[in-house]
């Protein structure tokens, strides 16, 4: 820190990027959210909290504000589906990551390649593929019917479940990779030490391996949760466009509804949710940091 100017100049590119790509756009969004909406699209530079009030209240025919939970319901659905997606991703990822970490070195690379393979294909195409699988008389249904175990099945497509499947499918690599990294980092002697101290394989898993992989699991959970909150494609393609999530709502405000202020206020709410969750996580991480977990 002897040469503050040189230090500042050295880091200047980072500051510039942060300023122009993060801070300024964020302030623009925040600014727009505090303006009143223009009936002809865009916004009018007149201060108004209408767009925030609009999240909870709607004007009825008499011009009276009534509590309206439809947007809140979308927020709740977004949080619920995202949380379920994270939990299911965790449960599915851990065995996969553990399995890969136990493979010989040359195989690991291959398995990791398979995990990341879907990223090479456009997200739209990948999510679209699930329509073919889940559709009435689609691959899954006709397959199940062929086994003779099930008769008529209710439509699987355009349900919360279908959206969930799409979200998990889209973001699960973001969970597998950090968990894999933390299992890889695990000292094999610790597992042997647990075995040596009379812990069976199952006990070793839950008393030593899982707790020590917590940093990876937390990182994965954040990486999956955040894009799930803002997801757009799955509700449109797999939810049939009727079960909106927060991402869709914001998207609609800027495109078809042309209510920029409302879109911005929703974006700010989403941002606050994400920051809140990250803060809670950071606090818990710093509390358990002492144990190295």
């Amino acid at each position: 820190m002897k040469r503050p100017l040189a230090n500042f100049l050295g880091l200047a590119p980072a500051y510039v990027i942060m300023l122009f790509l993060m801070i300024i756009p964020l302030f623009i969004v925040f600014y727009v959210s505090l303006m009143s909406s223009d009936p002809y699209g865009g916004f009018k530079p007149i201060f108004s909290l209408d767009s925030y009030i609009q999240i909870f209240f709607a004007e009825d025919w008499d011009g009276v504000m009534q509590l309206d939970l439809q947007y809140l319901w979308i927020i709740v659905r977004t949080l619920t589906l995202s949380t379920i997606a994270v939990v299911l991703c965790l449960l599915l990822s851990f065995p996969v990551a553990y399995y890969i970490s136990r493979q010989p070195n040359n195989r690991k690379a291959l398995w990791l390649f398979f995990v990341t393979l879907p990223f090479w294909v456009s997200m739209v195409v990948r999510v679209y593929a699930w329509i073919i699988i889940l559709a009435d008389d689609g691959v899954l249904e006709s397959g199940l019917r062929m086994t003779g175990l099930v008769g008529d099945i209710d439509s699987m497509l355009y349900t919360n479940g279908a959206m969930l499947v799409g979200m998990i499918y889209s973001y699960i690599p973001l969970m597998i990779l950090p968990i894999y990294a933390s299992i890889e980092k695990l000292d094999g002697n610790l597992i042997e030490a647990a075995n040596d101290l009379y812990a069976s394989r199952i006990k070793t898993l839950f008393t030593v391996i899982v707790p020590l992989c917590k940093p990876g699991m937390v990182a994965g959970a954040i990486l999956v949760f955040v894009p799930c909150l803002g997801t757009i494609l799955e509700p449109v393609l797999l939810g049939g466009g009727k079960k909106l999530m927060l991402g869709n709502l914001i998207y609609t405000q800027f495109t078809t509804a042309r209510n920029w202020s409302f879109g911005s206020s929703l974006a700010i709410v989403l941002l606050c949710l994400v920051v809140l969750i990250l803060l809670v996580n950071a606090r818990r991480a710093s509390q358990t940091q002492m144990g190295g977990a």
Partner: protein, 363 residues
């Protein structure tokens, strides 16, 4: 416990990595019996298979052939968590996410001890290793020596029938290592638990062990007390590995029980304690550098030599001498005063050693 009962009985153990016929043979037909309440050391250079043997007793590896018994019970393929043995790992392997108390309690919890007994035992262990005050800390808040002690406490807490120690001192600095030797030895006496200690450090082995098993090239070279191993090595590998020695190629003229009559290149005929010497085959005379004296001794063998190298070592001075028929004979002269400039390079000096401090070792 009966002092002469066998704690661990290793018989005809073979360990092959890879295909049985063509793979790497880490251990070749090992048989050794470790007694109850014994400080038993597996000593050998790195890669000799000593750690493999320890890991097989712990249950981390299974023998390709042969059997290992713990107090008469065949271990076979019994998984590690069902064996009444505990291990102190080279890097200690303390659980970083648990306090020291929780680390020590781990084995007891797995054995489903009642909580109040666990508390008592953990406290006992902390006192045993003199770490009472730091129980609520985490392993990464400790120094190497402290971690070592907690690793010991954790492994001793479940009262194992045998404690396995895998080079536990190698990560410590010299002073601490030397202090821990005495502590370990003391701990073994106090607890009365059989210790099986793996090391490549001969000083450690000599200082702590009741008995030492020297392993080299996957085979047991010799089993005996430190004194037996040092004074009566059965082959050149051991004489060379334990301590330092001079080897002189000699001719075996006759073997007579424990003695051999030999002809040396120095022009001496000697009658020396032998091991594995065969008439007409190559053999080596081993003379420890510390057992040769510069000067004359009564009733000793005397030779003359020229000093070619001199090195001050603190406690002693190492000389290399050329004697008739042998070059580079190493002599270590202990300093009894601060004046150690009696001899210099180029001097011709008398050297003496007693016949019975030398050994003839066959191949």
């Amino acid at each position: 416990m009966d002092k002469h009962k066998i704690a661990v009985d290793v018989s005809n153990v073979v360990k092959v990595y890879g295909p049985r016929k063509t793979g790497f043979k880490a251990l070749d037909n090992i048989s050794v019996q470790i007694k109850d309440n014994e400080f038993f050391t597996l000593l050998g250079p790195s890669g000799c298979g000593k750690t493999t043997l320890l890991r097989m007793i712990a249950g981390f590896e299974t023998p390709t052939e042969g059997s290992i018994k713990l107090h008469g019970q065949e271990l076979g393929t019994l998984p590690a968590h069902k064996r009444r043995v505990n291990t102190v790992f080279q890097n200690y392997a303390l659980f970083p996410h648990k306090t020291l108390i929780k680390n020590i309690a781990f084995g007891l919890e797995m054995l489903k001890w009642p909580q109040d007994e666990i508390d008592v035992r953990v406290q006992e262990m902390l006192e045993l290793v003199q770490m009472e005050s730091v129980g609520s800390r985490y392993p990464d808040q400790l120094s190497g020596g402290q971690r070592q002690r907690i690793a010991l406490a954790r492994a001793l807490a479940p009262k194992p029938e045998v404690l396995l120690l895998d080079e536990p001192l190698s990560a410590l600095d010299l002073k601490l290592r030397q202090a821990m030797r005495a502590e370990l030895k003391d701990l073994q006496k106090k607890t009365g638990i059989t210790f099986i200690f793996v090391t490549h450090d001969q000083d450690e082995a000599l200082e702590m062990s009741d008995r030492i098993c020297v392993i080299g090239k996957g085979k047991i070279q010799q089993v005996g007390t430190p004194q037996e191993i040092y004074e009566y090595p059965v082959n050149a590998f051991i004489a060379d590995f334990i301590g330092e020695t001079n080897f002189v190629d000699v001719e075996v003229l006759a073997v007579n029980g424990s003695k051999a009559h030999i002809n040396t290149p120095m022009g001496l005929q000697m009658n020396v304690t032998q091991a594995n010497a065969v008439v007409g085959e190559k053999a080596q005379l081993s003379i420890r550098p510390g057992k040769i004296v510069l000067g004359k001794l009564d009733n000793a063998i005397g030779l003359k030599g020229v000093i070619t190298y001199k090195s001050y070592m603190g406690d002693n001075t190492h000389f290399k001498l050329d004697v008739k028929g042998h070059q580079g004979l190493v002599v270590s002269e202990k300093h009894t005063s601060s004046d150690h400039n009696r001899f210099n390079i180029g001097d011709t000096v008398d050297i003496s050693f007693y016949e019975d401090s030398t050994r003839v070792l066959g191949q």
